[in-house]
Amino acid sequence: MSDLSDLPPGRPWWHAASHPAPALLVALALWGWAMTHTDVSDLDDFGLVTALHPTFWAGLALLTVGFWATLRGPRRHPAWAPAYVVGLLVMERATQAVLYPTPLYAWAWKHDAVVDHLLTAGRLENADAIGDMAVYDQWPGFFAAQAALVRLLGVDSAAQFMAWWPLVCGLMLLLPLLLLYRTFTEDRRLIWTGVWIFCVANWVGQDYFSPQSVAFALHLGVLAVVLRRYGRPGQSAVRQRQAVWTVLLTVLVVAVVISHQLTPGMLIVSLAALFLTRRYRDKVPLVTTVVIFLAWCLTAALPFLSAALPDMIRSIGDIGGNVSTGYGATPTGTGAVTTSWVARLLSASVLLLAVVGVLRQPVLRHRAMPLLLIAAAPLPMLGASSYGSEMIFRVLMFMLPGAAFFAAAALLPQVRTLTAMERTSRTEPRLYGWLPLLALLAGTLAFVPSYSGKDRISYFPPAEVDLVRQVVDQAPDASLVVAADRNYPLAFADYWRVDHYWFLDDDREHVDAIVHDPAATLARDMSAVESPGRAYLLFSRGQFADSEMNGLLTKGQLDRIRQSVDASPLFERVAGNDAGVAYVLKETGR
């Protein structure tokens, strides 16, 4: 029989609530509830933000608070922090896959079309056969692998699984990111706060079904290996052993180079920045990457590069032109403007926090100097190319791994040297309990409008997919599909046999001519199609949303164009539903 005094002291009832498990489980349960009570059938200009059930926001806030409490509890099992981060990824990157019945983003649908092309053709084709789309056949790595996956899974197309790609990609990124951070600190608070900030600040949305999503993860993997295994002065014995590492590195670099145009460039500038430091003056990774990149550019990718070279040379040094987002990318309307500003504010805050972290953490700045270099290395690329008006977003994304680490450092107590720690034993100021939590909460909640605030543009309901499918299926070879812009699903479907023309891509003068006299101008534009091809005109809600919210044509103008075509004897209606309408140019209209 034991004495009662042997028992541990009684714990208050609320002790159980401070355990990491209840907060995580309740947050996920709230998310699950929100997923079954959110209606996405009528999105407004704020996208998913206003459509989400309030329990989603409660779940996200609870998850963030729980995560922060878990990190601050010194006796918590180390598995709780990754569990919370995976929870965050599920809430961030799986929400759209659960809510929407069809995959998002016109660009993802375009990549699905490229996979479809490889499966149909069974080989790579050049510009003579498929025009501008040949560029994808010159960096085919991702698409070839996805083509194999589609067949191996036995599904009709990549559209059946690509909605889940952001989650897969987020989980993949965790591995190199953790390894990068663990190279410079043992402090799990710093590591996981950095990972959390990276996840919530990575709103740029390059994690959709795309080559850059995989190439970015591999890029970080290469950097993690270089930082861990090439960081010592090169003695001959070490170099000999590094040969095996170089073989592995080569496999990863080749996969990056054959998959994406920009990522190898970013990898090279990052490795070059590291090479400038005494600690990483090993030329093997840099030379290996440059040689593989040049070898690919001068062989497989030469047709595209030789055609694009004059423009690329012209844009070098034109920073103003390179960072401008261009015509058709001006947020218009309260929703688009607000969500764009939230996204900008989120990125600016993280970069500002990173600067604060660098300034107030001299010890960390010295120890993690390579991460600082990796964060700064992509900046010169702003002067190199506009990359289709996207360079500023890409640079931001490549800066983020390093920036998130130092942003986390700004939210945590100062890192001191071992000697300084032995001399003083300072307690953590109360400030470090609340302020960082508020910053994390604000960033986490701001992610949603930044990432999903334009879902009215990105989401295509099943009716819209059906409508476009009907048009493509009935189009004979050598047909032309005309639309206002390319923001609709299957916009590139069958591009090897069906041509496309998006009149809002044309110069402003011609767009004005279409607005002035829609049916006659469009009929003239479409009349060059030769038999047996037909010329189709498609209007769908995705085009309207994109045009309105990006400052192209207003809904009134587009409606007028559609009504003019509808009333014209030159066109005949061939398909239509509540998501849009399609017409064909009559044979007599040519």
Binding site: L118, G122, R123, L124, P140, G141, F142, A144, A145, A147, A148, L149, V150, R151, L152, L153, G154, V155, Q160, M172, L175, P176, L178, L179, R182, T183, F184, T185, E186, D187, V214, A217, L218, G221, A224, V225, L227, R228, R229, G231, R232, A237, V238, Q240, R241, Q242, V244, W245, V247, L248, V251, L252, V254, A255, I258, S259, A300, R367, L418
Partner: protein
């Protein structure tokens, strides 16, 4: 060879042959998908790393200055192996797909069979051991 070593050696090719046999399952079935994804995401990389592991471990990894947790370095090494297992697998799938499509010989079955054969061959290879560092006179230390 310990039972654990046998499992590490045999599991990747087993996964490959399992994925190949899963092609007999109906199109789009969950079991077929799970077998494919599991093998393609980890099999080839695991086989390569088993061969290279000892040689890779000869190069010391850079780590944080503070060394409070004795297990930290070991956990980082494990994380690195996990990352490389996945990333090398993904890279090899990209490479195999590209080679077949570029040579006009593309078929998904060929990609899977090639990776399975590669993984099987790797299982029969001895592990790669880096030569010990030499002194100035060329004798082992």
């Amino acid at each position: 060879m310990t039972p654990q070593e046998l499992v590490v050696r045999a599991l990747p090719p087993f996964g490959g042959w399992l994925a190949l046999s899963a092609l007999a399952l109906p199109d789009g079935s969950v079991l077929r998908g799970a077998a494919m994804v599991a093998f393609l995401a980890a099999g080839p990389g695991a086989a390569m790393l088993r061969i290279c592991g000892p040689a890779l471990a000869m190069v010391p990894a850079a780590g944080p200055v503070e060394r409070r947790d004795p297990a930290f370095e070991r956990h980082s090494d494990q994380l690195e192996r996990l990352m490389l297992t996945v990333f090398v697998s993904v890279a090899l799938v990209l490479l195999a797909g590209t080679v077949f499509i570029a040579t006009h010989a593309f078929s998904a079955q060929r990609v899977l069979l090639t990776l399975t054969l590669l993984t099987t061959a790797a299982a029969f290879c001895p592990r790669l051991r880096a030569s010990p560092p030499r002194t100035a006179k060329g004798t082992a230390t």
